[in-house]
């Protein structure tokens, strides 16, 4: 507008060279380059934040994918494990891990003697302390599974204590060990000797993905198994419930419902629902699904239902947008050759909208996968060591979830859990990346067909 009014003034000074830059031009150029600089700065800032975030998570978390093990020959002494000599499974089950602790102690002492290692200032407790407190449970598990091997000497790859593990990841040093009541420099020296003898190794940590959570004193044994399974169960429930319901609702609203006040109100409220804080859905889940319906606490079924409610608006909004983006000429074309409304929708509109719907669904799922707050309220924050059974029964068993596991681990005192939490975040991010890649892949595939 201002340009137009300025025109006559410029036109007055006729045949001015285009190379001459007036005050207006100079200001316009300034404004343009200023805006570009601001935009670029914003982008760079964003990238830096992202790099910093990922960098710190990776720096803290990558080490959780490696774990230190000690190879140990343990003599499964029948005099201690099976006094009656009948291998009775009932009697074996009654033995607690306390019975196995001395076996480990004997084994470690035997190992040190065999390798000819001598470390001054090591007490008896210190020697067996380099092995994780999880080890007796591991032995007991083995004996219960193979009672016939009692009396044999069996080679075990036992977890090293969390501090020993931390020593090889740079978390624990000789200096910190002097101040630490849980580990002594002598133990670290012993570990170094064992490493030199090839008994102590650090290798890829599969059990991080398969093992259940462990208690505060044994971070080295803590894994994501239950959390991953719980998250997968919940995602299955969310997918199976929210995709059909959401797509059906959006098709009805977009293609069939009349445009009137009622549908307007519904539309506004779906948008509102998408903005409801997730913790409110958690309270709803607690009140309705657990207190009223009586579903079990900490169960993936409740988590799945709550996350379904949360995901529905996202899917409905994305699906409606995808349906709206299909040109009306396609609907007219179908109706014009005598297709019914439903035929036109399902034969033509829906396939064209499918890539958008899929993307929306996967974004909704990804959102649900990372959601923590509502799960805290329905008890999924509980310490769960038992794996849930196979579906569908397993949907009702207690389980954990990935983001909740992260939250859980950051609450623990042992610094080894910071590494675990960061590792869990990496796993969560990898899941999200895989889902997004899946969305891109599916979209490409669908689009190629047309």
């Amino acid at each position: 507008m201002t340009d137009l009014t300025a025109m006559p003034a410029v036109g007055g000074s006729q045949s001015r060279s285009l190379f001459l830059r007036g005050e207006r031009t100079r200001r316009r150029h300034m404004a343009e380059s200023r805006f570009r600089a601001i935009g670029l700065a914003a982008v760079i800032f964003g990238i830096l934040v992202l790099v910093g975030l990922l960098g710190s998570i990776l720096a803290n978390g990558v080490s959780s994918f490696r774990q230190t093990y000690i190879a140990l020959d343990v003599y499964l002494d029948p005099a201690k494990l099976d006094k009656a000599g009948d291998r009775d499974p009932e009697a074996l089950r009654k033995l607690t891990t306390f019975t196995y602790q001395p076996l480990i102690k004997t084994a470690v002492e035997g190992l040190i003697e065999e390798k000819g290692i001598s470390v001054d200032g090591l007490g008896g407790k210190d020697v067996e302390g380099i092995i994780s407190k999880e080890a007796p449970a591991e032995l007991r598990h083995f004996v219960l599974a193979h009672p016939s091997r009692i009396g044999e000497t069996v080679k075990f790859e036992l977890l090293a204590d969390g501090r020993i593990d931390g020593y090889y990841k740079g978390r624990v040093t000789m200096e910190t060990a002097k101040l630490d009541r849980n580990v002594s420099p002598e133990q670290l020296m012993l570990a170094d000797e064992l490493k030199a003898a090839g008994v102590l190794t650090t290798r890829f940590n599969w059990s991080f993905f398969t093992a259940p959570d462990a208690s505060d004193t044994r971070p080295e044994a803590a894994g994501l198994g239950v959390a991953i399974l719980g998250s997968i169960y919940m995602m299955l429930i969310v997918l199976v419930l929210s995709l059909p319901i959401g797509v059906a609702a959006s098709i009805y609203l977009e293609e069939f419902a009349p445009q009137n006040r009622l549908t307007d109100i519904i539309e506004v409220n779906i948008a509102n629902l998408a903005a409801v804080p997730s913790i409110v859905f958690g309270i709803l889940g607690l009140a309705v699904f657990i207190n009223y319906v009586g579903l079990p606490q900490s169960a993936p079924i409740v988590g799945g239902l709550v996350l379904t409610l949360m995901t529905l608006p996202t899917i409905i909004i994305a699906t409606r947008a995808a349906l709206k983006a299909v040109p009306p000429s396609i609907r007219e074309a179908a109706l014009g050759v005598g297709a019914s409304k439903m035929q036109s929708t399902f034969h033509h509109v829906l396939p064209l909208a499918a890539p958008g719907i899929l993307t929306g669904a996967i974004i909704g799922l990804a959102q649900a996968l990372g959601e923590t707050a509502p799960l805290l309220l329905i008890g999924m924050v509980a310490f769960v060591r038992e794996f849930p059974a196979a579906p569908p029964g397993g949907f009702f068993d207690p389980a954990s979830a990935l983001p909740v596991q992260v939250y859980n681990w950051t609450q623990r005192g042992d610094p080894a859990f910071i590494e675990r939490a960061s590792g869990a975040i990496i796993v969560l991010l990898v899941f999200l990346i895989i889902m997004n890649l899946g969305a891109i892949f599916l979209r490409r595939r669908f689009e190629r067909r047309w």
Binding site: P327, S329, R331, E332, A333, L335, G336, V337, G338
Partner: protein, 271 residues
């Protein structure tokens, strides 16, 4: 061009001597879009196996009337239609009528070519499939071939029937849409400015095709091109501001119209 008009004149002379039976008829048709009235009591008969052109300035209601003929206006929520429209003497707005059956008998070709984003074959075969007009592969092959032949497209696309219909040129796409419409063997074909998105060469082909289709189908065409109306139609109806101004044989409308508004519009004084 002259030959076409000559043929049209000859045709109207013939039909003048033996008036064609009315295929569709609108009786006192009114249309409201919400509060706004778009058609004010239109009475118009569409003769069988002839081409009727609907002309008039933009917003005059000719497209609205056309879309009433196969109840395409049903898809617009706020649209209300009054009066009655008869197809072979039956009211198509009767509640007992199934609109899908109606649209199978009264097909439509749109302003912008809108082939389905599927193969050429699938575009044509879709109508027969949903109406159960063919069941075996050979039957589908046949209906696809004859429809494409009638639409004058077969020779151009016979080697690439499995390629997407959207990959054709604009004119070919529009002829594909016509083939798609005739594949369900309609009795009436409605065309809403079918050539407005096409270049002159493609337009000539489609017009030629319309002239051939007249043998078997009743055609109603909305057009903004006076020349096109003169070239392809036997009868012309002139709309203005939601009213039918006048209707008559095309040559008479273009040479000696009764109404001054028709005269003005045709000679380009308004619209």
């Amino acid at each position: 061009m002259n030959m076409l008009t000559d043929a049209a004149v000859e045709e109207t002379l013939q039909s003048g001597s033996k008036p064609a039976a009315s295929k569709m008829a609108g009786k006192d048709v009114t249309v409201h879009y919400g509060e706004k009235q778009a058609l004010f009591g239109v009475n118009l008969e569409v003769p069988e196996r002839q081409v009727m052109a609907l002309i008039g300035p933009s917003g005059c209601g000719k497209s609205t009337f056309l879309r009433c003929l196969n109840r395409m206006n049903d898809t617009i929520d706020i649209c209300r239609v009054g009066g009655s429209i008869l197809l072979d003497g039956e009211d198509i707005y009767d509640p007992r009528i199934d609109v899908v059956e109606l649209r199978a008998r009264v097909g439509m070709v749109f302003q912008k070519p809108n082939p389905f984003p599927k193969s050429i074959y699938e575009n044509v075969a879709y109508g027969p499939r949903i109406h159960g007009l063919a069941s075996k592969k050979s039957e589908f092959d046949e209906v696809v071939e004859t429809s494409l032949q009638k639409a004058g497209l077969f020779n151009e696309v016979k080697d690439r029937l499995q390629e997407p219909g959207t990959g054709l040129s604009g004119g070919q796409q529009q002829r594909l849409c016509i083939a798609r419409a005739i594949a369900v063997s309609p009795e009436v074909i409605l065309m809403d400015e079918p050539c407005s998105a096409l270049d002159p060469i493609a337009t000539a082909k489609v017009e030629e095709l319309i002239d051939e289709l007249r043998e078997n189908y009743t055609i109603v065409i909305v057009t903004h091109s006076m020349q096109q109306a003169a070239r392809v139609s036997q009868r012309t109806a002139m709309f203005h501001l939601g009213n039918l101004v006048e209707e008559g044989p095309t040559d008479k409308m273009f040479t000696n119209p009764d109404d001054k508004r028709t005269q003005d519009y045709i000679t380009g004084r308004f619209g």
